[in-house]
Amino acid sequence: MEKANADKYVQLEHVDMTFHTKKGTFNALKGINLNIKEGEFISIIGHSGCGKSTVLNLIAGLLQPSDGLLFCAGREIAGPGPERAVVFQNHSLLPWLTCFENVYLAVERVFSTETKAQLEARTHAAIELVGLSHSSDKRPNEISGGMKQRVGIARALAMEPKVLLLDEPFGALDALTRANLQDELMKIMAKSGCTAVMVTHDVDEAVLLSDRVVMMTNGPSATIGEILEVKLPRPRARLELAEDQEYNHLRSEVLRFLYERHAKKSA
């Protein structure tokens, strides 16, 4: 069981997801099959409402599939676990705790056997990693949106997860802050080497950060339409890539998928 296949580190097999709401049943996902390699960076892209966040929540264990199976490191995903950390779309920091306390809350639970000093050291290290040591005693509403998302990333990384799940992590940020954080995320991921799954609706972000871009068809009963390999060498530099032929080709591939073959009819 423990001997996980490195090529199938995270596995989604025939995953269906049906929501039962007051208005009736809604088939969100149908027949999702995806294997994620260890250390790979995957982006899931698609129009809003196609269920890309649902895929992420399934991997996180926040939702249970209606049908099909999900595995992480060879084990079935039965619920949330510390090996799969989530960076939420709207940062979801607790407003009554300081940045330090927000991160500490996560650390404390995962490394419950360690001493307080060790836990504090871990927290400081995670906050330093995202460059926020100077604001660690501030509350979330005293810092900018970009800084909040940094704390969200620090909280997730502090748990030393095997898989980092990012739900449109930079969606609410302005373009400059977003570019900044993308660059830093690339550096951090290169250092930690953990597997990442990111949901996004930003084509540039998907191509720049990912090893593979998973493109989803429109819902209901959304599924994986196409998977695009991004074989650009790392480290990747935003400015150089802007004039790179391969990069622009990949970028237009994704755009073509989204706006020609699976254009959203009513938007």
Partner: protein, 280 residues
């Protein structure tokens, strides 16, 4: 207020545009914030005086004021069980309210948390709460008298039963309104139930809880007067009834002011506490 303006002027720097603007804001604060409440209270006294002028039994403001000065010159005298100073009566009422309200908080707040947290309990308690909440608190007095066989615990019981509902309901509403995002954080971080309560639910629910507490103390203070009229003993409600029997109408009017002012102070005190606990 005009006095303070005069006091400020000599220390102010030579007359510049800035200081004249400061003067304007002072004037605005005086006419916009200080004057209207004073005017409102003045109007109340005028209407009262006019009514008293045309009513034989009703004492006017001046007569009441004289009586109040005399009353409060010695608020803590004690001439036996049925003749104590007004101070003792106020304290006795506050003690009952404190006890009944404290018990209500002790039971109502945890119960609210449980109801908000577990849907089954919420559905279970919903019919009971809906049925009992609209009942006038005084209707519970005979039951209290029957069970406790004494007036004082019965009065505390009435306060308890009237104060407990706002705390249960507001706490439960607060808990049920905790954003799903925070609960997802709790799930992803795999927090223990204890951590969920102390780090997420409690800080989030606190403002709701404080609203419940404020409503409760208001209701409790409303009810105490009526309850004490029925149970007797020492207390502001009994005092009103006693003065009615003595036909001392000045004292009844004074009692109305006392009840109002004490209620206002209780409310202010809790608002201050609520502000201290707010995380924003």
């Amino acid at each position: 207020m005009t006095n303070t303006v005069n006091k400020i002027m000599p220390t102010a720097k030579p007359f510049t545009l800035g200081s004249s603007r400061r003067l304007n804001t002072q004037a605005y604060r005086f006419f916009g914030w200080v004057l209207p409440p004073i005017f409102g209270l003045f109007l109340l006294v005028v209407i009262w005086a006019l009514i008293a002028e045309h009513t034989q039994e009703l004492p006017g403001p001046i007569k009441t004021w004289v009586s109040a000065v005399e009353l409060f010159s010695d608020p803590f005298y004690d001439h036996g069980i049925n003749d104590k100073g007004v101070g003792w009566n106020i304290l006795a009422s506050l003690e009952r309210v404190g006890l009944g309200f404290g018990l209500a908080a002790l039971i109502g707040i945890p119960l609210g948390f449980i109801i908000g947290r577990f849907e089954f309990v919420a559905r279970m308690t919903a019919p009971v709460i809906s049925l009992l909440r609209p009942v006038s608190p005084l209707a519970w007095l005979p039951i209290g008298l029957l069970v406790f066989k004494a007036a004082n615990p019965a009065a505390i019981w009435v306060i308890f039963i009237s104060a407990v509902w706002p705390m249960i309901i507001n706490t439960a509403v607060g808990v049920s309104k905790v954003p799903q995002d925070y609960m997802n954080v709790a799930k992803v971080l795999n927090l223990s139930e204890w951590k969920i309560v102390t780090k997420i639910l409690f800080p989030f629910v606190l403002p709701y809880m404080m609203t419940g507490v404020r409503l409760s103390i208001g209701v409790a203070w409303l009810v105490i007067v009526a309850a004490e009229m029925l149970t007797g003993g020492v207390g502001i409600g009994f005092w009103v009834w006693d003065e009615w029997n003595n036909l001392n109408v000045e004292h009844i009017i004074i009692a109305i002011f006392i009840v109002g002012i004490v209620g206002l102070l209780l409310e202010l005190m809790l608002t201050q506490i609520a502000k201290r606990f707010s995380y924003e």
